[in-house]
Subunit: 127 residues, 2 copies
């Protein structure tokens, strides 16, 4: 996972610019997380259940994620009734992992007390 | 830090209901993080700098955080020219720590491949 810069190296250490709105919105964060955990893809119904979303909500968020090229939705017709298959794209995986590295930084910052610039910066493992 | 439930114990494992909108908004997440790291409080100017916000933006977000009782802003007049001091409240600290535990869960989920229910759940330390 690509690392975000330590706090002391950032001009605005609490700006967290890497938290792109398209991924940071709570429902979309859940959708991307569910798809990252299922690299072969998930049906629309499965994402809906895993993320606790309504049909309309999930459709809307998938549209946003598709427009941003983070997710692709394909219509599968082989065998039974057709269903939509949702997958995270290669670009989606790359950008979401970058996003997650900023979230990790937020957690590290929360566990790193402010100290004089001369003191060593320690890495506090989240419990 | 209070722990969020492991993925398998959640009805909608990727819903992340604990990501309260009032704290999840990126600028407010930064403001709360900066104040958590400075328990004695920060001046308005310091928060503005640390979070890379404009006067207007910070004022607006502080209003939202004050209304939610997460932050308190007091006018300090002793000595030099008056300035606003921003502090995270006890309630703010408690709720923000709860919020952070959900963020931690997001990171753990991203590092935990989906596996059969019988397999052990391992704790993957974020790199």
């Amino acid at each position: 996972m690509k690392k975000a810069k330590p706090r002391r190296q950032r001009a605005h250490p609490f700006a967290y610019e890497g938290l792109e709105r398209v991924m940071h919105e709570r429902a979309r964060l859940g959708v991307l997380s569910s798809l990252l955990a299922h690299p072969k893809g998930l049906s629309f119904a499965a994402v809906k259940q895993l993320c606790g979303l309504t049909d309309g909500n999930l459709s809307r968020h998938l549209d946003v994620l598709e427009s941003a090229r983070l997710v692709e939705v394909t219509r599968e017709t082989g065998g039974g009734r057709p269903q939509s298959l949702c997958r995270i794209t290669a670009e989606g995986r790359r950008r979401f992992v970058g996003y997650l590295s900023v979230l990790e930084r937020v957690l590290l910052d929360a566990q790193t007390p402010v100290r004089p610039a001369s003191a060593p910066q320690t890495y506090a493992t989240p419990r």
